[in-house]
Amino acid sequence: MSNVFPKWSNALPLKIIVFVFILAAAVVSGITYYATPSYTRVGYEPVQPVPYDHSFHVGELGLDCRYCHSKVEESGHANIPASSTCMACHSMIKTDSELLEPVRASFASGEPLPWVRVHQTPDYVYFNHSVHVNRGVSCVECHGEVNKMEIVKHDQPMSMGWCLECHRNPEEYLRPIAEVTNLDWVHPGGEKGQIEDGKKFVEEWNVNPPQSCTGCHR
């Protein structure tokens, strides 16, 4: 047997074991970082047909989210505004802007603008905007600080684990209904105040976020 394997092969099993451990650690950390929604989805920033600047309209001019996404409080779906919504102002302001040409064309023809969807829940997930907005979940919790975005990008992972973070501890996220569209709002009492008030909201509004499979996978 001595001539089957060279002497250096004696150390080989140990080296292989060490290598396997390193490889396993690399694979696990690689998957955790690169193959989860916090990497694969966050940062998605598609080019839109019209470079609508949220940071200008919302952040500087102070438009409320609901001016354009008008049905978010009543509907499960937060609507994208029709071109007529844009034209409410832009029939008077910047009427000859080249960037706004697609909006005017869409308004004239009735053909909607081909906005590129940024956030998409899978078909097997049931999500209702109105129930969240009416129970003190702010837009910012899921969509990030849109009032500071020039181009809208995917801000949060929107993985199932991420949904459950709030469904399991809603008191950490709920705020007064009046502040839902105020994206800069933070609880004046800090973290402690947030939890205190959050618990009150959970109690008073009877917030009971589902954690069973069928809550979202209907």
């Binding site: 047997m1 394997f5 916090s38 992972p157 684990g161 459950l164 973070e165």
Partner: protein, 472 residues
């Protein structure tokens, strides 16, 4: 009492002047007084000879059969689990039946390697290697069904508690999760046991190898075995520890498999007799399969001196015993149903025997309870062909047992409006039949490349190894 006390001292100590144990002759475990070198030549020869024609024929046939499973699974994954005959009310059909069937067959391996080792049943040495191989391959076949029943098979890793972006965790209250752990532990320990047992024999094959590549490959897997005293003493301790470790598994695996049914609330499943009765059934079918495999091998490779009539006797007696236990359990289920006076329970069992699946029930009874009773007769135990045929019946019967349990209960629910009749689809049949091909492919490869008997252990139990055989 006092007087009894006093008299103790007067009684003579219970020591005889001379010890005369009754001399009960034990049959030799290796016939014809074969020498060590004959055993090595015989077993290694099987691995070293030119691949026989029959092997190629069987291998091609087995691959062809195995392709049925592959086709069935590809069709299932590309289309959906609906291609199996699973539909309300029978959402467990052949998938669970085949799973339990194969896991049960796998049972004999650990029993032979662990429990018989601890009980010093020396006759295990001739059959344990092949039985352990059978166990591993049966677990492989069994695993196919639950994994693909998941539907999105690429999500099967959800079965294990692995942290993930969905923040979900398996339900530890579910028997199906216990199954995952029971079966994967069982598979791992069986492989470990099998491999540890193989090491000295792999070294024998390595040392006899003439080509460089064989020396290299067998050399790697023999892990530098030299057969020194120190290695042997460590090895024996390791083997003993593994035997101790896997002994509980013999009982736990099928107990947990039976929990899949027993912890539910359905009449016909919800019974406390399930764990022991499943374990007995598993050992029954496992030994059936061992004989089904070993008897042809014995004839083909002329292993009559190593697998003697005594070995066959032992195994058939175990089949007889466990078959009778299973029969007792079938009877006891009826008794408990009658004694418990629960209408639903009584209905479930009467329906089993005389209802829509009566045909399956009576196949089960005749194969599992009646056919092993022939083993009471020495003449039948000595007729190899007949033994082989009966073991085939045992395997058929045990498949039908699982079918009867799973299907009769589901298709006759509490609500007559949801009653139904389960029929397998062609995909079910293809997938199941194909697993016999998968099993055969693996077993044939085992025969071709690994020593099919534990040479080192057999040598230790030969008459030749006992230098003082004729003196006490």
């Amino acid at each position: 009492m006092a007087s009894a006390h006093a008299s103790i001292e007067e009684v003579e100590p219970a020591i005889l002047d001379e010890v005369n144990p009754v001399d009960i002759p034990r049959p030799a475990l290796v016939d014809n007084d074969r020498s060590f070198s004959w055993i090595t030549d015989k077993i290694c020869g099987i691995v070293e000879e030119k691949t026989p024609t029959w092997w190629w024929v069987c291998f091609v046939l087995a691959c062809g059969t195995a392709s049925f499973t592959v086709m069935g699974l590809v069709y299932l994954v590309s289309t959906g689990t609906g291609v199996w005959g699973l539909a309300n009310p029978a959402n467990w059909g052949w998938a669970i039946v085949n799973f339990v069937f194969w896991i049960g067959i796998g049972h004999a391996g650990t029993l032979i390697s662990a429990i018989l080792c601890l009980l010093r049943q020396k006759w295990r040495t001739s059959i344990n290697r092949a039985a352990e191989a059978m166990t591993i391959f049966a677990v492989v076949c069994a695993g196919i069904f639950p994994v693909f029943h998941v539907g999105r098979v690429w999500m099967a890793w959800f079965l294990f508690p692995i942290p993930n972006a969905n923040a979900i965790w398996p339900n530890f209250k579910s028997a199906l999760l216990w199954d995952v752990f029971a079966v994967s532990t069982y598979g791992t320990v069986s492989v470990l046991f099998w491999y540890v047992g193989l090491i000295p024999d792999l070294a024998s094959v390595r040392d006899r190898a003439t080509s460089k590549i064989r020396q290299f490959l067998y050399g790697i897997f023999a892990m530098g075995w030299r057969g020194s005293n120190r290695q042997w003493s460590n090895y024996e301790m390791c083997y003993l520890l593994l035997a101790g470790l896997s002994t509980p598994l013999v009982l736990s695996v099928h107990t947990i498999v039976s929990f899949d049914f027993a912890i539910s609330l359905l009449p016909g499943w919800h019974t406390t007799i399930f764990p022991p009765y499943f374990v007995a059934g598993a050992i029954f079918s496992g030994f059936g399969m061992v004989l089904t495999l070993m008897l042809p091998l014995r004839a083909i490779y002329r292993l009559d001196d190593l697998i003697t009539q005594y070995h066959i006797d032992c195994m058939t007696k175990i089949i007889l015993a466990t078959g009778t236990m299973v029969g007792y359990a079938y009877g006891m289920e009826f008794f408990i149903a009658a004694y418990g006076a629960n209408d639903f329970e009584i209905f479930a069992f009467v329906n089993r025997a005389f209802g829509n699946y009566a045909w399956a029930y009576w196949i089960m009874i005749s194969c599992n309870v009646i056919s092993p009773q022939f083993f009471w007769f020495k003449k039948i135990r000595e007729n190899t062909a007949l033994v082989w045929i009966i073991t085939i019946f045992v395997n058929i019967g045990m498949w039908f047992e699982r079918f009867v349990i799973a299907v009769t209960t589901l298709t006759r629910d509490f609500l007559p409006s949801s009653w139904g009749y389960f029929s397998p689809t062609i995909v079910d049949i293809f997938t199941y039949v194909g697993t016999f091909g998968v099993f055969s492919v693996l077993f044939l490869l085992f025969l071709r490349f690994l020593p099919l008997m534990a040479m080192a252990e057999i040598k230790a139990v030969t008459p030749q190894a006992d230098a003082h055989a004729h003196k006490h």
